[in-house]
Symmetry: C3
Subunit: 351 residues, 3 copies
């Protein structure tokens, strides 16, 4: 187990307390023991932190002051790691400890993998069972493809990418360094593009070939069963550092900027451009051909149907839930909201 002083140095945080204390992992405030570290990033949990048996606590300077002024039963034995961003320091320390127990994907190619003869697999890669790699695919160093995954021709997966089982990567896809792609994700399927051709008897939907690709930057994480379609004539692009949750749908020719987070079940329609550092809530969705400014926040379940030009704004559009009986009344009134305004105007005039 590393000592407190070693951890403080490694993660560039200030240490308050006995630097020789050995600490072996992280745990939530209420479960942490004397050899474990916990963290306090929300002042709401100050009392819980004070009561915690954690041997180490990652805190802000302000929270440290509170905790020293309000000691708990375990405070005497505790060390503090003082950080400007306790949550990020916690995440980095947790990664460090997680690595120790993480599975090692030994380099090598499982004998069942079906790899096109045109592909040369670096010796540092791990290719699991039932992986299919098509012609002219290029893999970087230490790429891990776990199992039952298919990578179609001309795709590139850069170094240190980790692809979980049952992922489908269509042709010409580019995946950056250190990307993580979870099971069930589908990258590069055809965008949804059809030209209606009306006739006397109805309509035929003529498929528009989807000749673009998907280009994903570095350090992107893509959640389970998320789908990112290839572009029609140009590419669909996901910027570096962006994190995408499960069951997100990203349509053809969408551009997502750098370092965005997109929560589960969100959907972005074709050709919409999301700026950098945007935060998209779960089940939020965007119409097509919009431009969304940098640092926009969209609440969960909100539908964005117009472009957002001012950066850094927070948009919401959730219809409030209520008891079903109340909703039945309100929904009926909503349908005729224009009548309410009409009557208000008449009343205004009749005054």
């Amino acid at each position: 187990m590393p000592t407190a002083i070693e951890l403080a140095e490694q993660f560039q945080v200030s240490l308050v307390g006995d630097g020789s204390l050995a600490l072996g992992g992280l745990a939530p405030l209420e479960r942490a023991q004397s050899t474990q570290i916990s963290f306090l990033s929300n002042p709401l949990y100050r009392q819980q932190a004070s009561d915690s048996a954690a041997g180490g606590l990652i805190v802000s300077k302000a929270d440290l002051d509170f905790l020293q002024a309000n000691p708990g039963a375990h405070s005497a034995q505790r060390v503090y790691f003082v950080s400007k961003n306790p949550y990020a320091s916690f995440a980095r320390m947790a990664q460090h400890f997680a690595k120790a127990s993480a599975p090692i994907y030994a380099p090598g190619v499982h004998p069942s993998a079906a790899i096109d003869p045109s592909v040369s697999i670096p010796a540092s890669c791990h290719i699991g069972p039932f992986v299919h790699i098509g012609p002219s695919v290029i893999l970087g160093e230490r790429v891990v493809l776990l199992g039952n995954t298919s990578v179609a021709r001309n795709s590139t997966i850069a170094s240190d990418a980790l692809i979980y089982p049952n992922v489908s990567i269509y042709s010409e896809t580019q995946i950056g360094e250190r990307c993580i792609i979870h099971s069930g994700a589908v990258i590069g399927a055809d965008g949804f593009g059809f030209a209606p051709d009306l006739s006397a008897t109805g309509v035929e939907w003529v498929k528009i070939p989807q000749a673009g690709a998907v280009v994903i930057g570095s350090d992107v994480e893509i959640g389970a069963s998320t789908t990112i379609d290839r572009g029609a004539m140009s590419d669909t692009v996901i910027g570096s550092g962006t994190k995408i949750d499960n069951q997100v749908q990203i349509a053809h020719n969408v551009t997502v900027g750098n370092c965005c987070v997109i929560a589960g079940c969100a959907a972005i329609s074709g050709s919409t451009r999301i700026g950098n550092f945007c935060i998209i809530g779960g089940a939020a969705n965007f119409a097509g051909h919009l431009t969304i400014a940098d640092r926009t926040t969209v609440s969960g379940n909100t539908s964005i149907i117009r472009s957002i030009t001012e950066p850094g704004q927070h948009y919401t559009g959730v219809y409030p839930s209520m008891l079903h009986s109340a909703w039945e009344k309100n929904a009926a009134i909503l349908r005729g909201l224009d009548k309410i305004r009409q009557r208000l105007r008449l009343l205004d005039k009749s005054k």
Copy 2:
């Protein structure tokens, strides 16, 4: 074919009519023939039941009285199975007949399966082609893994579970007895947890290791392409008897109680706790860190953003659809709803 009296005894329902009648299956009221059974659970369909050619009808006492008072062309030859819950009796009888024609997944391991040497597969299990089973996985008796499925290290699948093709089960997952998991489901992928670390140039999202697992009780059914994420520091838990439809997203550290039903495309954000016996409509979604009382019903497409403390209530929040032209007017008014209230207040005062 079993006789009516045999069926009545097996399914503990009262028989009215000729016990020697042989009956061989179930069918809807309008298609059932004289050797088939149908059911009536909604009085709206009484006339259709009266007209049905079904040889047997599962009914309530009240509906039996109606049907005897209003005989149809086929009533003389018909037997009635009188049940307190005709729909459940129908389901159980249908299961009985379905079993006869169900595929038999013969015990054995397909030669193409890739099974870690540390795993011992009970002789009663069926392991299909291209199944990958990682180190230290434990399977109960009669587990069926159909094909192209991946089960990662240290997972446990209890007896009589049935896993359809192309399922991804991450490490440390626990699946209870008699669970059914449909194709494309992903159990145990990393939860969506990142700590923002701001810098002068933007933000880095630091991954928080997801060290918890997914624990699923017995008799749970999980629909196609549903995703259930592993917990961050503690587990994601699905209670016994809960049924989950397709494309449902369950985030990290969620707890779902026992015997809930969650319809398609619903989404539950991180750390939310759903009580027992809840009914969640399709495409409903929940914000994170909520607590939802037992026996809550949530309508489809409803967004729940606050905890629900009173058990047994029904919540709805669907914005009503209308003709597009009417919507355009109403939506514009909605954005300024506070102005309507303002003017009302002024009018009130000016009276």
Copy 3:
């Protein structure tokens, strides 16, 4: 490269300009070069078309007139393909050029494929690695099953169907000619049907066997991770010519008519019948047991909870998004909308 006159004849459009011009592909207006074709289907882009360096332009008669009256730097060298439907003509020409560079899936069965001995694979089919085909499956000519796909017993896939990797096709599924099914799609999983059986201690959800199938017409495209459930007692049906995007959920016993388009993340609940030529926006959803008239358009993110009987109407029900601070006020008012009406009525009376 084909000449302009050859293309005009093949695609039945009128040619204006030098018929001997050789043209080798399509590109967007702003990127097209002198040997490439672009198209103009929206008068908004007339100026861009005038400025384009494209050697060929697919246009309507009206747009041709404009472009001839407003020549650009490259107009002298340009040919025009005049079409009643430039977008559809573009789609067909693009398909033509795309075919030339499309991958050829050579006929043959990959040695790793697991095919039941009861199945005879036509010599023209391409069966990729790790494909599992169950008993009594029937394949038409030139069917392509790329990799890691599972086709269960008694299913039929008609000629020229193209199935991308990691698709799950349950038993008894029928797939028509020229269908395209993208990765992660699940066709024929059990519908979500359970009969509640109440007891003193709670409720048991008794599974209703899903004995119907999925029947898909010809020329249907199904997007990535879309799920279409099998019927309970009758079939789930998708009409010919219908195009379905990614992550769409279609529940048991739904009928979708011919030549509909259903955008990403839409969801259709059980037993709902969608007419022909309907256009369903992304993330729209339908309650169960509805009937939707032909040629209905439903906007994205709209919830339809009542049947629509008049054909050709356009319905919308998106709650407008606004700045979060404005939303907080409006949402509170919305919960008490009935009080606003109440006060209006009082004011009306008090006049």
